[in-house]
Amino acid sequence: MRVLLVGSGGREHALAKLIVSSRNTVELYVLADYANPGLRREAEATGGRLLAVNTSDPPAVVKVAEALSPDITVVGPEEPQFHGVTDALRERGFAVFGASRACSEVERSKVFGRYLMWKHGIPGRLHFTSFRSLEEAEEFVRYAGDVVVKPARQFGGKGVRVVRDTKAFLSEAKQRVKSSSVLRTFEELDALGEEYKVLVEQRVEGVEYTAQVVTDGSYVLPLPLVQDYPHAFELDVGYETGGMGSISGPGHLLPFVNEEEYETTERIVKQVLEKLQEETGDRYTGAFAGQMMLTGLWGPTVIEFYSRFGDPELSCLVPRLESDFLELLDRAARGALAGAKLEVSESTVSIVKAIAPVGYPASKSEASGHPVIVDEVRIRELGCHLLYASVEEGVGGGIYTKGSRAFEVVCAAEDYERAYRLTEAAMGYISSLDGWPLYHRSDIGSGWLIEARRREAERVRAVYRSKQLRGTLGESFTVWMPGKGIVASPLLSPLR
């Protein structure tokens, strides 16, 4: 079976590994923006190749597809979807796994997905408001209180400011930070010509997790839940990143999410997919994910949507998958997913850790261009998988960092303690050749951090269960204004 995989990073390397493990004979071609050596090797091992093109350029991708005539094309990242690559391929009759441009709007525009949830009363929605004009946005955040300020469109996982504002004595200082954040976000999105620039959302707290599914538009097949770790640094501090690691298991759950919460999450995701297709009039074929948070407000709550697999969330599946993933992608692409099953090892858990050059994520230029070396044999001896992410081959075959997370390591074991030891050991086999420091988060997958999450989940669980009993799930932000009465959220839904 000839497979064309579009995309260049760690998620695509995970996809490549899942694809080539198929019981079908696979010939894998990869279309990537840069020469990712891991992807190149996966392709070449099957008799295929890595081809460098701009993966967000529909004519360029179509041209390659026409030359190769793949049986299926898998589009990994969101940017090609936003640019219409999946639609262009489908128009030419190719079987494609990947959301259409219209469907990927659910990720691209942060307003759209939220609007859908409010319009159809889908549980797990947060109060928010979005702005076209800077004046309105500035005026609003002056009184907004405890909120998160976000760019109104997907912005490479950047630009989110979580400004907890529950202490009046620090409120003025926080208000100034919010204002400057609004200004910066506004300018950045204005330059992109976006209609809505700034989104202000009520802040919630709890335990985050990702719910990924594969769908052909009518049948929805969930993957095991994954927790990813967005903070750049250990102890959950520092910049927001695309994710410094993730964990999955046992089974399809996480140590801090129970079956009932899993089912609620699944219902939310399915409802969103249904309404999204209604709204766009387009069939959703591909991967879809809800970046969720277990909160006291709702229990399972939506923070973001992804119109693709998460990175590094998907990597967790690599050592745990027991069924044929390619078959799944293929059935989804052909609209024949009904009845398909995903078998995942029940007896193992997995941990993914990303390693990045110092400088990431604040200074991409500092983090770029460093030669790195990996002892892959040793990592394989540990039973772990190495995924190549933001690295490329230079002249002479050397591998150089490109400024983001360079590699991911994924290890599975019967429990987290063992998987943790393996990932930490594997990290020791990755180093730079020019002495430039690389870093990873030693706390991800550790017993104490999982325990901290479990306690946090218990805390919010008690709150949402009490709200559930009182029939007030999702209700918050009601303010009593003397003379005016009880007012709902100052953050209004878009359906005013």
């Binding site: 400011r161 907890r164 620090l170 102890l235 910049y239």
Partner: protein, 418 residues
């Protein structure tokens, strides 16, 4: 006693002087007498009073260290070439450690080098540290022996905060992330945050006074709720109250949870007994006799109706010179007219000074080290007097899985087990 709060901002625009100021307010109970703040300015680290510090420079600094220090700052603050080091207690080793830290930070793997060089102090009597460098790096390290706590928190994607106590992190609207174990440290800059460890010393333990007196009731120390620990000791006191009482009260503020525990154990009602004037003062930490008495007198105006004609149990966390309890006894007996006075102390008898300099105790003025029980009872002029025994603290410490240093009570280890 002292306390620190240090903040590193990953994003610009934070008014760090406000955070430092409220952070110090949140630690004011820890008994330091001088508050300083250190920040980066013109390529150097400078320290000064919070009031006179340039608030703009402080915010532009991106990282600050604020601390309450003892009256005599010797051995608690070292201002080096490119960094400033603050210790949790006076230590002659501080200048040497500060130099080693500076050297480790000039390498390209600072967290690894820090672990290496600080581990050589594992067996020595090294204090816990907070260091700020002129490059904006922040290092906190809890000594291998532990003794005083150190906790790390985070605020959104914007700040990392380290402090002596969880309540200071919470007061800054941030979240507690980890109680550092003895020997654990964090290296933080805008480009990297790394947890490192030099390993805990075999004799690693937590100062009993931290739980007994120093920390706030609303703090969590090494995962243990200070309030619950105190209330539990108070419950143990129940077995030493032989006479029936009408009311149980505690010397504010620290002894209130002990009194709650005693009340729960005996069934006698807990009542608030005193109201203070001016701000909360830490009487035990005052250096002169007169200063200590002033602090005591300011915080102890009795609520008469609670005590008039009653049989009263009064609880305090510890007895140092006995002057607080003497004052209380005089007040309640002669000014208010309590019928009986039973004093219960929620810790064993103090036997000597603190060998680590964590608690400033003058061995010459420890009443329990110089007088026997009946003499102290006579001096206080009370109907009965009882202390908790070491076994009680031992049992409670084990219940909370704590290893405590009780050197000043004559026991180098309480709980845990050796």
């Amino acid at each position: 006693m002292s306390g620190t709060i240090s903040i590193l901002a990953f994003e610009p625009g934070w008014e760090l002087h406000r955070f430092a100021s409220y952070g110090l307010d949140a630690l004011g109970h820890r008994g330091g007498s001088r508050r300083i703040v250190c920040w980066r300015q013109s390529g150097r680290v400078v320290c000064g009073d919070l009031e006179s510090a340039d608030s703009q420079a402080l915010s532009d600094s991106g990282a600050v260290v604020a601390a309450w220090l003892n009256g005599r700052p010797d051995g608690q603050l070292v201002e080096g070439e490119s960094s400033v080091a603050v210790a949790d207690r006076p230590s002659g080793l501080l200048p040497e450690i500060a130099r080693d830290v500076e050297r480790a930070l000039s390498t390209d793997r600072p967290h690894a080098r820090l672990a290496e060089s600080l581990s050589s102090y594992g067996s020595a009597d090294a204090p816990s540290l907070t260091v700020l460098t002129s490059r904006g790096e922040l290092v906190v390290w809890r000594s291998s022996v532990g003794l005083t706590p150190l906790v790390v928190g985070g605020y959104g994607f914007d700040m990392a905060i380290a402090s002596s106590e969880t309540s200071a992190i919470e007061m800054l609207d941030a979240d507690v992330r980890r109680h550092l174990l003895p020997g654990e440290g964090v290296y933080a800059s805008r480009r990297q945050v790394r947890l490192f460890s030099t390993g805990a010393a075999e004799r690693a333990r937590l100062c009993l006074f931290e739980l007994l007196y120093t920390a706030r009731h609303d703090s969590t120390v090494d995962g243990v709720s200070v309030y619950e620990f105190r209330r539990e000791l108070g419950r143990r006191l129940g077995r030493y109250l032989d006479d029936p009482v009408d009311v149980v009260t505690g010397v504010p503020e620290t002894a209130l949870p002990y009194a709650v525990g005693l009340s729960q154990a005996t069934g006698a009602p807990f009542e608030l007994g005193f109201v203070g004037t001016l701000r909360r003062e830490r009487s035990m930490m005052k250096e002169g006799v007169r200063e200590r008495l002033i602090a005591v007198h300011l915080k102890l105006n009795p609520i008469r109706r609670v005590f008039e004609g009653k049989r009263v149990a009064v609880v305090d966390d510890s007895m140092v010179t006995g002057s607080t309890l003497k004052t209380v006894a005089q007040l309640l007996r002669y000014r208010v007219g309590a019928r009986e006075l039973h004093v219960l102390v929620a810790s064993p008898k103090l036997a000597g000074t603190c060998p680590y300099g964590v608690v400033g105790l003058d061995p010459g003025s420890l009443i329990s080290a110089h007088l026997d029980e009946s003499d102290i009872e006579r001096y206080l002029d009370v109907d009965s007097l009882a202390w908790l025994r070491e076994e009680d603290v031992e049992t409670v410490a084990r219940g909370f899985c704590l290893r405590l240093c009780g050197a000043c009570f004559g026991r180098s280890l309480l709980g845990g087990g050796e």
